[in-house]
C-alpha cells in the first residue's frame, strides 16, 4: 500500500463524492445524455472537454458529425454498485508504484471489473434510445459510430492525461455501443493514467468520464487547418494540410501531406505544394482501419479540390471568429455526403505558437496621413516586405 497516495479514503468518500461543486452549473444535472446540438456551456463539467468542444462547434454552426455525449452522471451510476467499489479499492490499495509490470496486471483487473459490471438499466435504456434516434436522424439502421472517452477533471489543467483517452471506431449496433461505452469508462484506470495521477498527486475520484457517441465519417481525405500562416503569423490566411483517407497517415509521419495556403478574405488558394502521398488509412466494409498503398496518378494528385479548400477555409475562419482566437482545426471530407456539403470538422482548438507571441501594432504613434506617406516613400517597399 502506498502511504503517500491520497486514495486511502476512496472507499469512504466514493458513495458521496461530488465531482463538481454546484456553483459551476445553474441546475442540478440529472441527464444521462446531452446531444451535441443541444449543448450549452453549463453542460461542460458533465460532458468533458472533447464533447464540450464538439457541442461548442455545433453552437458555432460548424458541420460536426451528429452525435451525443453520455454524461458523467451516467458514469457516476456505476459506482452505486458497492461491491464494485470495494473490489476496485482493494486492487488500488495493492498497487506498488515502483512495480510497473505488476501495476499493468492490476490495471487490467480493474478494467475487467468495470467492463464486466452490468450497466445500470436506466443508463442503458437512455443510451439505446439516443442511439436509435441517431440512426433515425442519419437515415441508416445501426449507423456506424465512433465512441470516444471525454474525461473531465476538477482543477486539473490537462484532463486528457489524467484520464486515458480511448477512441473506438466503426462501432455498429446498440449492444456494441454499450460494450465500448464501458471500455471508455474503464480507461480511467489504464496503468498510465493511474501512474500519471499518482505522480501528479491527483485523486482518482477527481476524474470522471463522459463518452461521446458520434456518427462515423468515412473520409476521402482529411487533414488540419491553421487559421493563420504558420511561416509568418499572417492572420489573413489559412494553412491547410491534406492527405488521402483518415488522418493517421499524416499523424504517424508516413506521408507528407499536400500543403495549401488559402486567403481567408479573397477565398482563393494562393500557394500549393502537392506531395507524393504513398499510403492512406481507410476503413474497410467491416469497419477495420486498414493501411493501403496509394497507386498511380492519385499519389501526386491533390487530395482536395480548390472548392474543398475554400469551404475548409471558410469553416476554419468561422471557428476562429466564434472562439475569438486563431484555431487549429481537424477536418475531413466525408465520402457519403454530397460535394459542397461534405466538409466536416472533427475538432477545433486554439493555435498555440503565434497566438502566444505578443502582436506588435503597426501604428504606434497615431495616424498622420502625410507623415505616413513620407515614410512609405522613404522606406523602399522591398525592405518592408519579407
Amino acid at each position: 500500500m502506498c502511504e503517500s497516495c491520497p486514495i486511502v479514503d476512496w472507499e469512504h468518500e466514493l458513495p458521496t463524492v461530488r465531482y463538481f461543486t454546484a456553483t459551476k452549473v445553474d441546475a442540478e444535472m440529472t441527464e444521462h445524455i446531452v446531444w451535441f446540438d443541444r449543448y450549452e456551456p453549463a453542460h461542460k463539467p458533465f460532458v468533458g472537454g472533447k464533447n464540450a468542444s464538439l457541442g461548442e462547434m455545433m453552437m458555432a454552426e460548424l458541420p460536426v458529425p451528429p452525435g451525443f455525449a453520455v454524461t458523467t452522471v451516467a458514469y457516476d451510476q456505476i459506482w452505486q454498485d458497492a461491491q464494485l467499489v470495494t473490489q476496485v479499492n482493494d486492487l488500488l490499495r495493492a498497487i506498488d508504484h515502483d512495480d510497473h509490470a505488476g501495476n499493468r496486471v492490476i490495471s487490467d483487473q480493474i478494467r475487467t471489473l468495470i467492463e464486466a459490471a452490468p450497466i445500470p438499466p436506466e443508463v442503458a435504456d437512455d443510451v439505446r434510445q439516443a442511439y436509435a434516434a441517431l440512426c433515425t436522424h442519419c437515415g441508416i439502421d445501426d449507423v456506424p459510430v465512433a465512441v470516444r472517452s471525454s474525461a473531465t477533471a476538477e482543477d486539473m489543467p490537462d484532463a486528457s492525461f489524467a484520464g486515458q483517452q480511448d477512441t473506438f471506431l466503426w462501432i455498429v449496433g446498440a449492444d456494441a455501443v454499450l460494450e465500448n461505452l464501458r471500455k471508455c469508462w474503464s480507461s480511467i484506470f489504464t496503468d498510465r493514467a493511474i501512474a500519471y495521477r499518482h505522480s501528479m498527486g491527483y485523486l482518482h475520484q477527481s476524474i470522471a468520464m463522459s463518452v461521446g457517441i458520434q456518427k462515423m465519417i468515412d473520409p476521402i481525405s482529411s487533414g488540419v487547418a491553421f487559421t493563420l500562416n504558420p511561416t509568418n503569423g499572417d492572420r489573413s490566411q489559412v494553412a491547410i494540410d491534406a492527405s488521402w483517407g483518415l488522418g493517421e497517415a499524416v499523424v504517424s509521419g508516413e506521408v507528407t501531406p499536400d500543403n495549401f495556403l488559402v486567403d481567408k478574405v479573397l477565398r482563393e488558394v494562393i500557394e500549393r505544394k502537392i506531395s507524393d502521398k504513398g499510403v492512406e488509412y481507410c476503413l474497410t466494409d467491416d469497419g477495420v482501419v486498414e493501411k493501403l498503398e496509394v497507386t498511380g496518378a492519385r499519389r501526386k494528385r491533390p487530395a482536395v479540390t480548390d472548392d474543398d479548400l475554400t469551404a475548409i477555409a471558410i469553416l476554419a475562419r468561422r471557428a476562429e471568429k466564434h472562439y475569438g482566437c486563431p484555431q487549429d482545426v481537424e477536418w475531413a471530407l466525408d465520402k457519403h455526403l454530397p460535394p459542397g456539403e461534405n466538409v466536416v470538422m472533427l475538432q477545433s482548438r486554439p493555435e498555440t505558437v503565434w497566438s502566444q507571441k505578443p502582436k506588435t501594432p503597426i501604428t504606434t504613434d497615431g495616424y498622420d496621413p502625410m507623415k505616413s506617406i513620407v515614410s512609405t516613400l522613404m522606406t523602399p517597399l522591398n525592405n518592408k516586405t519579407d
Binding site: 499572417d234 489573413s236 482563393e268 494562393i270 480548390d306 497615431g366 505616413s372 512609405t376 517597399l381 522591398n382
Partner: protein
C-alpha cells in the same frame, strides 16, 4: 548568372540602320557626351507603353510623358527620394531609368513635399473637378486648331478688320499651339498620378505589414473604383447592343464591315450611337501612343464587331450587364474582413485613413487614362492627320503620313517653306528635300521595327526603390533578377504577378497587335505583350490572360479583375515561350503559368 545587363554602348542593332539616330532628338540618344552617366545606370525597356519602334512623331509622346512625370516628382512635389525617370531611345525603343535623389538632399525635401503634396491631398476633390475642366478645355482647344490648306486669297475680313495677319503666319502659330497643347495635356496627365500612386503605396505598404502574405490583388480589390470612366466605352457598347435588339436592328450588325442602318429603328439606333460616341468612342485599340492605334469613332467596324458579339450573347439569353451591386458588395466584404483581422483599434484607424485616402485619389488614377491616352490622343492624332493631308494636298509632302517621319521641330521648317512660297506664290522645296530623307527613315524604321530590343541595360541597383517604377511598371528587384536569369524558372514555366485570381487550363493564342484581337476564339487564353482597356469586350470570351509586362495596376490587371478572368501579368517572356495552340495552365492566384 550575369549580375549585369549589357551596356547600352555594346548593343548591336539590326543591320542597315546606320544613321537611325536622326529619327529622334539628340537629347534622347545615348551618346559619348554623357557616357559615364549613362553607362553607370540601369535602364529597362518600357515595352508596356512603347513596344514597337517609334517613328519620329511617336517619340514626341514618350518624351512629353517622361518629362512631365519627372517634373512632378522633382520640381513640383519634391518627392523626397525620387527625382525623375530618365529616358533614352535606342534603336527606336524607349529605355527608362529611375533617378534617385542624392541622400544628403532627401531630408530637406520632406517639408517641401509635405506642404505641396499636402495641399493636393487636402483639396483633392476640388482640384480634380478643376482638372476635368482643364482637360476638357484643352481637348476643345486642340479640336479648334485649324490646319486647313492656305487659301488662294485671304478673306475680306482680314482686310476690313485690319488684322493684317495672314493664314500662313497663323498656320505656323497654330502648329506651335498644337505642340504646346500636347505638352500641356501631358502636364495634366501627371498632375495627380504620382501622388495617387504614393497614397496607394502607403495603403499597400500598411497592408503588407499587417498581412505579410496578402496578395496584391486583395489590396487592389479594396481600392478599385466601382464606377470608372475607363469602363464606360465598353458599357456604352453593351447598351447599344441591347438597343439594337430592342429596336429590331440586331441583324444589321451580322457583318460589322457593312453595317447599314435604315428605317425608323436604324435612325433611332444611330441617334443613340451619336450620343455615346462623344466622348466615349474616342477610344483606341492600342494604348494611344502610336499613330497606328485605331480609334473607334474612325474605325466603327471595331465597335460594331464587339456589338455583334454582345448581341449574340443577349440573344442567347445571357445577362451582359455589369453587376454593380455585387461588385460593390464584394468590395465591402473584402474591406470589412481584412479590417476585422487587424490587431488593434489604432491599426484600424490607420487602415481606415489610408484606405480612405487611396479611394479619394484612385478615381483619378483609373480615369486619367481615358481622358488623356484615349480622348486627348484621339484628337491629337486626328489633327496630325489633318495637317499631313494639307501638306500632301499642296505638294509639300508626297503623302500625308510622311509627316510621321519628320521630327516635330523639323515640321516648322516645312511649314516655313509652305508659308513663304504660298506668300511669294512660287514652287516649294520640301517634297524634293524631304523625299529621300523620308524614304531612308522609313526603311530604317521598318528594320528597327523588326528588331527585338533587350529587356534591360546596364547594372541593376541592389534594390529597386523608385515607387512609381514598382507600381506602374511592376519592376522590382525580383523581376530584374528574373530577367538576369538567376531565378531559374523551369523551361515550361513562367512567373509573373498574380493579377487576377483563379486557375484554368486552355489553349493559348498569341496576340501581338490590336488587329489580331478578333482572332481570339471562345475560351482561348490571351497571351500578349500587353493589353489595352479597349480590348475589354473580348474578355468575356477568353478563359485567362497572360502578359509580358505590367504591374498590379496595369490595364490588363484592372480589366481582368473586373471581368473575373484569371490573369498573370509581367511574366517577361510569355510571348516568347508560349506559342499559339499550346495548352497552358494559368494560375492567377499564385502568378504561375505552365506550358503543358
Amino acid at each position: 548568372m550575369n549580375n549585369s545587363f549589357p551596356s547600352p554602348f555594346e548593343i548591336e542593332g539590326p543591320d542597315g540602320v546606320e544613321g537611325w539616330e536622326e529619327l529622334y532628338p539628340y537629347s534622347s540618344s545615348f551618346s559619348e557626351y554623357r557616357k559615364d552617366y549613362e553607362d553607370n545606370r540601369f535602364w529597362f525597356w518600357d515595352s508596356m507603353h512603347w513596344g514597337k519602334a517609334l517613328t519620329p512623331w511617336d517619340a514626341t509622346f514618350m518624351e512629353a510623358a517622361l518629362a512631365a512625370l519627372s517634373q512632378m516628382n522633382s520640381r513640383h512635389y519634391r518627392i523626397p527620394p525620387a527625382d525623375g525617370v530618365d529616358f533614352r531611345i535606342l534603336y527606336g525603343y524607349a529605355f527608362l531609368s529611375p533617378v534617385g535623389v542624392d541622400p544628403s538632399q532627401i531630408e530637406a525635401r520632406v517639408p517641401q513635399f509635405m506642404e505641396r503634396a499636402g495641399h493636393y491631398f487636402g483639396n483633392w476633390d476640388s482640384l480634380y473637378d478643376n482638372w476635368l475642366n482643364k482637360v476638357k478645355t484643352t481637348i476643345e482647344e486642340i479640336e479648334s486648331i485649324n490646319f486647313d490648306p492656305l487659301p488662294e486669297m485671304e478673306d475680306l475680313e482680314v482686310i476690313t478688320g485690319g488684322s493684317a495677319i495672314g493664314s500662313g503666319a497663323t498656320l505656323m502659330s497654330e502648329y506651335n499651339r498644337f505642340k504646346d497643347l500636347i505638352m500641356q495635356a501631358w502636364q495634366f496627365h501627371f498632375e495627380f498620378l504620382n501622388l495617387g500612386y504614393a497614397a496607394y503605396l502607403d495603403f499597400f505598404g500598411f497592408c503588407k505589414e499587417a498581412f505579410p502574405s496578402i496578395p496584391d490583388l486583395g489590396i487592389a480589390k479594396m481600392v478599385a473604383g466601382v464606377e470608372v470612366d475607363l469602363f464606360r466605352p465598353n458599357e456604352e457598347l453593351k447598351k447599344l447592343a441591347q438597343k439594337a435588339v430592342d429596336l429590331g436592328v440586331a441583324r444589321n450588325f451580322d457583318d460589322p464591315d457593312n453595317v447599314t442602318l435604315d428605317g425608323e429603328g436604324g435612325a433611332q439606333w444611330q441617334a443613340a450611337w451619336d450620343e455615346a460616341k462623344d466622348p466615349w468612342f474616342n477610344f483606341t485599340s492600342g494604348n494611344g501612343f502610336y499613330h497606328f492605334d485605331k480609334i473607334w469613332v474612325e474605325n466603327p467596324d471595331i465597335p460594331y464587331t464587339f456589338i455583334r458579339d454582345y448581341i449574340a450573347r443577349i440573344e442567347a439569353g445571357e445577362d451582359i450587364s455589369r453587376p454593380i451591386d455585387a461588385i460593390r458588395e464584394e468590395r465591402d466584404r473584402v474591406v470589412s474582413e481584412y479590417r476585422d483581422l487587424l490587431g488593434s483599434d489604432e491599426d484600424r484607424e490607420a487602415f481606415d485613413g489610408k484606405l480612405g485616402l487611396a479611394r479619394v485619389v484612385f478615381p483619378y488614377v483609373e480615369n486619367h487614362n481615358f481622358y488623356i491616352e484615349h480622348w486627348t490622343m484621339s484628337v491629337v492624332w486626328r489633327k496630325l492627320k489633318e495637317l499631313g493631308a494639307t501638306l500632301e494636298k499642296d505638294g509639300l509632302l508626297a503623302s500625308a503620313d510622311d509627316l510621321l517621319f519628320i521630327r516635330r521641330d523639323e515640321v516648322n521648317e516645312v511649314l516655313w517653306d509652305y508659308y513663304a512660297n504660298w506668300a511669294v506664290n512660287a514652287p516649294t522645296a520640301s517634297a524634293a528635300h524631304w523625299g529621300p530623307i523620308i524614304d531612308r527613315r522609313r526603311a530604317i524604321h521598318a528594320k528597327l521595327d523588326g528588331w527585338q530590343a533587350p529587356k534591360a541595360l546596364g547594372a541593376p541597383p541592389e534594390v529597386i526603390t523608385e515607387p512609381f517604377t514598382i507600381m506602374l511598371w511592376g519592376i522590382t528587384s525580383e523581376s530584374v533578377n528574373n530577367w538576369l536569369g538567376s531565378d531559374g524558372d523551369a523551361e515550361n514555366e513562367l512567373t509573373g504577378m498574380a493579377a487576377s485570381p483563379g486557375t484554368v487550363e486552355g489553349v493559348a493564342r498569341i496576340i501581338n497587335s490590336p488587329e489580331e484581337v478578333n482572332d481570339l476564339q471562345q475560351d482561348e487564353i490571351l497571351v500578349a505583350p500587353i493589353t489595352a482597356p479597349s480590348w475589354a469586350p473580348v474578355f468575356p470570351k477568353i478563359q485567362a490572360c497572360v502578359t509580358d509586362i505590367g504591374g498590379m495596376m496595369s490595364h490588363a490587371a484592372i480589366v481582368c479583375r473586373e471581368y473575373g478572368v484569371p490573369a498573370v501579368t509581367g511574366t517577361g517572356f510569355g510571348t516568347d515561350k508560349i506559342k499559339t495552340g499550346d495548352r497552358i495552365r494559368v494560375d492567377g492566384s499564385s502568378g504561375k503559368v505552365t506550358i503543358l
